[in-house]
């Protein structure tokens, strides 16, 4: 063991007596490791930030989609809400493009037909004046609507519009509504997801029943919808609940096992986004790892030069009783130390660089700010990897050194 310490001393001594060379050799490893760490921690940080923000978006909403000819009916939804635990509300919608006429002019816009629960599913707007339409309004097919403040300004140049009539002509039919509510957008600060409110189309949020009745759109009460959105409680297992709902729909439509209905939760979308980010991160990290490989070859190159340069020293050591193992160990420790120190420097520089980049981003573009993050396992793996690069690329030169015949080595002047 004391001998091992001697070899460590020797290796350190040799590294220190060739400072410039050791630093240059290290540089390859430092660049390789730091770029891997930089990419991984930025990618991870961005992923965590996106996950965190998107997790509020979904907010317990699950879409049920019909993939075949079967349609989701209001009865289905009523039944599900009544019988499946954790289903808090359902939303069905339809959208029709039309021409809106007001005293200020004619605009292109949409009649957004929905049921009275719509506001529960709205995350980016809140009631600022008046009220939403109710189930009574819906059931009676009253010609009422609520619109966004921004749209009110576009349509009337005014936000004092409660009680005003508004006409929309769809497929040659004129529908006359009365505005009963105004909403305003909630601007989420520090969000990656932003909506372009400026150029958003104009929407009239109307009871779906009025569109059904006036347009004979799709006779929804009997035929049903291709998709619906459910609001689930946050304390239940989304996956299990959704599976249960799909089973109910399948059996109500006598199509068990036919995959007529599927569900989509935001978690699924989130998972897809994560997979994409992971792949991109991994890909860039692999590219960075190539520079690590090149750095390893640099280590081998320098160690080979060192062996050639120190042939005489190796000869002397062997003549004095150094065994093959001792010489090998000496050179391996040297390359191992260089790569280990390079690896540690690389980790520090990579992490530092990641924090510098993220703080530049948060200064320049605060809405995209995020904190870099890296798991200790990645750091551990990187450290082990850099040391093994040193050992792997050190083996050949070390063997070359150790196998030198002392006579040959001493003869070289």
């Amino acid at each position: 063991m004391s001998q091992f310490l001697e070899y460590i001393k020797m290796a350190l001594f040799n590294i220190l007596s060739n400072k410039v060379r050791s630093l240059l050799t290290m540089l390859g490893i430092v660049i390789g490791i730091s770029s891997v760490i930089l990419i991984m921690s930025l990618g991870n940080g961005a992923k965590e930030s996106i996950t965190e923000q998107l997790s509020t978006v979904g907010n317990g909403q699950v879409a049920i989609v019909s993939m075949g000819s079967e349609r989701i009916t209001i009865e289905d939804l009523e039944y599900i809400q009544a019988n499946v635990e954790g289903v808090q509300a359902y939303l069905v919608t339809t959208m029709s493009e039309g021409t809106i006429t007001t005293p200020k002019g004619t605009f292109t816009g949409y009649a957004y037909g929905c049921n009275e629960n719509n506001y529960l599913f709205e995350q980016y707007s809140t009631l600022s004046n008046g009220h939403y339409f109710t189930k009574e309004d819906y059931d009676a097919g009253r010609m009422v609507c609520y619109i966004a403040e921004d749209d009110a300004i576009k349509l009337f140049g005014n936000t004092d519009v409660i009680g005003m009539p508004i006409d929309i002509e769809i497929q040659g039919k004129r529908l006359s509504y009365t505005i009963i509510g105004l909403t305003s957008y909630v601007t989420e600060s520090n969000s990656l997801i932003s909506y372009d409110y400026e150029n958003a189309p104009i929407y009239l949020n109307v009871p779906l029943s009025t569109l059904d009745q006036r347009l004979g759109l799709n006779a929804t009460q009997t035929l049903g919808y291709t998709d619906a959105t459910l609001m689930l409680a946050s304390n239940i297992n989304t996956q299990d609940t959704c599976n249960q709902i799909i089973r109910i729909l399948d059996s109500r439509h006598n199509c068990l096992g036919e995959d007529q209905f599927i569900f989509q939760s935001f978690n699924d979308i989130l998972a897809t986004i994560n997979v994409v980010i992971n792949m991109i991160t991994l890909f860039i990290a692999l590219v960075a790892a190539i520079s690590l490989f090149v750095g390893g070859i640099g280590v081998m190159n320098i160690m080979l030069v060192s062996v050639t340069e120190r042939t005489r020293e190796i000869g002397i050591r062997k003549a004095l009783g150094a065994k093959t193992r001792s010489i090998m160990l000496q050179f391996l420790l040297e390359s191992g130390f260089i790569t280990m120190v390079g690896g540690i420097l690389g980790i520090l520089i990579g992490l530092g660089g990641a924090y510098v980049i993220s703080s530049i981003i948060s200064m320049a573009m605060p809405e995209y700010a995020f904190t870099p993050s890296i798991s200790p396992i990645v750091i551990l793996i990187t450290t082990l990897f850099s040391s093994s690069v040193g050992l792997f690329f050190g083996i050949y030169p070390a063997r070359k050194a150790a196998k030198l015949s002392p006579i040959e080595a001493l003869r070289r002047m």
């Binding site: 001998q3 005489r312 050591r317 065994k323 006579i407």
Partner: protein, 238 residues
């Protein structure tokens, strides 16, 4: 008493086959403990090959080499390393000090490979440097020492681990005459203190220092003379 070095019918053949070179052609030699032997020969005589075999840097093609009672004629690389470390102190023509180590660290080298603990190693090395009169320069690097001083460091390194055999290969070949006298005096002192010294040289005058001169020619021993008086007269000259 069993001789310290016993070689019998040693052959060393390079390039076996058509162009075989018989560097050593059946050499037999006994060297007893405490002897001061010079092996002399022209270049190409085979004395360097003999020195390599005596120093366990190489193994003979055939023949037997018994060193301190152990047959070393067929050992592998690692075993030879160990024998060199335990049994032989080398003094080379080119000094062969490691340039970036201090005199003391150079002297400590064989002790490191012998696993001697640090404090004891340090003690032995300092003692050896005292014997060659260089204890005041032990923190110097070889480049800061004169040729004669470097060779004295090399001698200190050869004797630090107290090996039974000191093998000096043209130890004065790179030195001026005053340094040569100095080095030879140290070798004499080592011999006088009971150590076995084998001196390999092409220089008859240097060989005169030894009490026994073995002359090699064409891979064979040409003569083997013990000259008590010659050695004495040489000592008187100094």
């Amino acid at each position: 008493m069993e001789p310290l070095i016993h070689i019998e019918n040693i052959m060393k053949i390079y390039n076996p086959g058509e162009n075989a070179v018989h560097a050593l052609d059946g050499i037999s030699l006994d060297i007893a403990t405490g002897e001061f032997v010079a092996i002399i020969g022209q270049s190409g005589s085979g004395k360097s090959t003999l020195m390599n075999i005596l120093g366990c840097l190489d193994v003979p093609t055939s023949g037997t080499y018994i060193l301190s009672g152990q047959d070393v004629s067929n050992l592998d690389d690692n075993a030879l390393s160990e024998i060199r470390n335990q049994q032989i102190g080398f003094i080379f023509q080119g000094f062969n000090l490691i340039p970036n180590l201090t005199a003391l660290e150079n002297v400590e080298l064989p002790l490191i490979y012998r696993n001697v603990p640090t404090s004891e190693r340090h003690e032995c090395a300092v003692e050896a440097l005292k014997i060659v009169g260089l204890e005041h320069r032990m923190r110097h690097k070889p480049s800061e020492l004169s040729g004669g001083q470097q060779q004295r460091v090399a001698i200190a390194r050869a004797i630090a681990a107290k090996p039974p055999v000191i093998l000096a290969d043209e130890p004065t070949g790179n030195l001026d005459s005053s340094s040569t006298r100095e080095i030879m005096k140290i070798l004499h002192n080592l011999h006088d203190s009971g150590r076995t010294v084998v001196l390999i040289t092409h220089d008859v005058q240097i060989a005169e220092n030894a009490k026994r001169v073995v002359r090699i020619m064409d891979g064979k021993i040409e003569s083997d003379k013990t000259k008590e008086e010659g050695a004495l007269s040489c000592q008187n000259k100094q």
